[in-house]
């Protein structure tokens, strides 16, 4: 079955463009299996965890790529490794805890034991007991190492790839995306907290949502309801050449004078619609560039968020055709003083499962999923801002959503679509 699927190009599209997207892509079990082969195990770099989650030599952290369980390790020499969290003997899960310290990794089932590099080191009763049993003489441990991945660290983010064909990480990201990751993660990280938002929808509906700058001010009405000034902002979208990675940003427009700003900053006359404690939004320009919002995605499943001083990494992990887990890691930096930590904790109310400007994203994918149940016809329309997937100097566009499908179709079908 898998072979047949892997040879196919998946569900057929209405045209060679990416501006109409068949709904079957979010519901079809075969398509989902095909994605595991061609996207998650294809020439992609999948976000695994933060460098800061492996603080010392001899530590490990579990993660996932698609539904495949992964272990990331930092060996005694400080080098990073990643491999499938599955014993090479009988396939049992190796690491059961989410993270830890270990000199070696031993399977609980039959005590096969591996180094943090993923090499098989010992097999219990390899020579049998009392000269009986044991493995055949020709058994070669070096042929039974764990299934290793390529692993790379970029600006504190650790990525893994199953494929030898995944390009160098800088080339994969593209220069503009790489530069904007470095911009945010420019100093040693301090983790403030983690949680997981369970999304009852296909994983692609979430990554599309994260790339969709069109919906932001429409679905998320917190800023507009409380008349928090946004008018002196300018912004745009950057899409990398592959289409898969993007940045959406907005920044203070320095060409608007203070007077203009004040004029626009007139608040609602209704006191009810003001924040009782506006210190929530008491932010500082920590990067010194006036960028107040930067949402960045790396294909297939990473979102890096800077909303004022609320910084977070989101990992999108499918758990089934119609189920996804969104792992949130909220971060600050080691050089944050007490006031900065408090500012980040306050502004963390903006994002996450209870985020003032993000909680809706946990539900809206499910609204689509429910509405397309039982349909094999119809497509979604992704025409805002044109039919291609290039960078655009405005945010009322779906260009980066088309970028996602450009990369997706390239991987699934083996040729670049008309985008």
């Amino acid at each position: 079955m898998t072979n047949i699927i892997a040879k196919s190009g998946g569900l057929s599209w209405p045209s060679d463009k990416v501006s109409t997207v068949p709904y079957g892509l979010y519901t079809d079990q075969h398509q989902y299996l095909l994605e595991h082969e061609k996207v998650f195990k294809g020439p992609t770099w999948n976000y695994l965890c933060l460098d800061a989650e492996l603080p010392e030599n001899g530590t490990y952290k579990v993660s996932r790529i698609g539904e495949t369980p992964i272990v990331v390790t930092r060996d005694p020499e400080g080098n990073l490794h990643a491999f499938v969290n599955r014993c090479a003997h009988r396939g049992a899960l190796l690491c059961l805890k989410p993270e830890g310290k270990a000199e070696e990794i031993t399977c609980v089932y039959h005590a096969w034991s591996y180094s943090l590099k993923g090499e098989l080191k010992s097999v219990a009763f390899q020579r049998g007991l009392k000269r009986q049993g044991g493995m055949p003489k020709e058994f070669d441990k070096s042929q039974h190492n764990l299934r290793r991945l390529r692993v790379v660290e970029f600006s504190g983010l650790i990525f893994g790839s199953f494929s030898e064909d995944a390009p160098d990480i800088e080339d994969y990201l593209g220069p503009e995306i790489a530069q904007r990751i470095r911009r945010v993660l420019n100093r040693p990280i301090r983790i403030l907290g983690q949680n997981v938002q369970v999304l009852n929808n296909n994983w692609k509906l979430y990554i599309e949502n994260a790339k969709d700058s069109y919906h932001a001010s429409i679905l998320h009405t917190f800023f507009t309801t409380f008349e928090i000034n946004r008018l002196n902002q300018k912004g745009g979208i950057v899409v990398d050449e592959s289409g898969g990675n993007h940045v959406s940003y907005s920044k203070i427009d320095s060409t608007l004078s203070n007077e203009d700003y004040t004029k626009q900053n007139v608040r609602s006359s209704k006191d009810d619609y003001r924040l009782a404690d506006p210190s929530l939004l008491d932010s500082v320009d920590e990067y010194g560039d006036g960028v107040t919002l930067q949402i960045l995605t790396v294909f297939p499943g990473l979102v890096l968020q800077q909303i004022q001083n609320a910084i977070a990494v989101r990992q999108i992990v499918p758990t089934g055709v119609k189920a996804t887990e969104l792992g949130w890691t909220y971060i600050g930096f080691e050089d944050d003083d007490e006031a900065m930590v408090e500012r980040r904790l306050k502004q963390a109310n903006l994002a996450g499962p209870a985020g003032f400007i993000s909680m809706e994203d946990g539900a809206v994918g499910n609204f689509v999923q429910r509405a397309i149940e039982g349909t094999s016809e119809d497509e979604s329309v992704v025409l805002m801002g044109g039919e291609t997937a290039e960078s655009q100097p405005f945010r009322v566009t779906e260009t980066s959503v088309r970028g996602f499908w450009k990369k997706y179709r390239t991987l699934i079908e083996g040729k670049v679509p008309n985008a």
Binding site: Q194, N200, T221, F222, L275, L345, N349, A354
Partner: protein, 156 residues
């Protein structure tokens, strides 16, 4: 701790749960002191000493803003909670205040009738007795699970 104080704590817990479960969310901030801490975290973060909260407020104003946001700004499908709060343990107390832990269970019911176990965990409270008022100086909601289904709009 005297019996009156125990009764006041019990009444605080029952009134807090009833206000949320009956949709009287505007009454929720009044269970806290002006300078307070309300934080929803999970066991894993809490045990690691991490300070983040899915909801995090250190003033009455921030609590009020939570409610006005969910009434006026945030979009979600209607749903209700049923809190089961039980087995409170007084860890320390004097005439003015008490440090109390209690178990909670929150069942979420969606408008189509779907019910699910939404959250379970421990309230870690600092309670203050002021005149006839009994209120929370601090409530840390420690959920047993780090997973939250769909979204968290209504406070726990």
């Amino acid at each position: 701790m005297n019996q009156t104080q125990r009764e006041r704590i019990e009444a605080l817990y029952a009134d807090y749960a009833a206000a949320i479960d009956e949709g009287r969310l505007e009454e929720w901030p009044a269970f806290f002191k002006e300078h307070c801490l309300y934080r929803i975290t999970n066991r894993r973060d809490f045990d690691r000493g991490l300070k983040h909260g899915a909801m995090w407020a250190n003033s009455l104003g921030m609590l009020k803003d939570r409610i006005s946001a969910l009434r006026e700004a945030n979009i979600y499908e209607d749903h209700t909670y049923r809190h089961i709060t039980s087995a409170f343990r007084v860890l320390e107390s004097n005439e003015q205040e008490a440090w109390v832990n209690a178990n909670f269970l929150v069942i979420r019911t969606m408008q189509n009738g779907d019910m699910s176990l939404f959250a379970a965990g421990t309230y870690q409270d600092h309670i203050v007795f002021e005149g006839n008022d009994t209120c929370l100086a601090e409530r840390i909601v420690i959920c047993d699970s780090q997973k939250l289904d769909t979204l968290l709009a209504i406070p726990l």
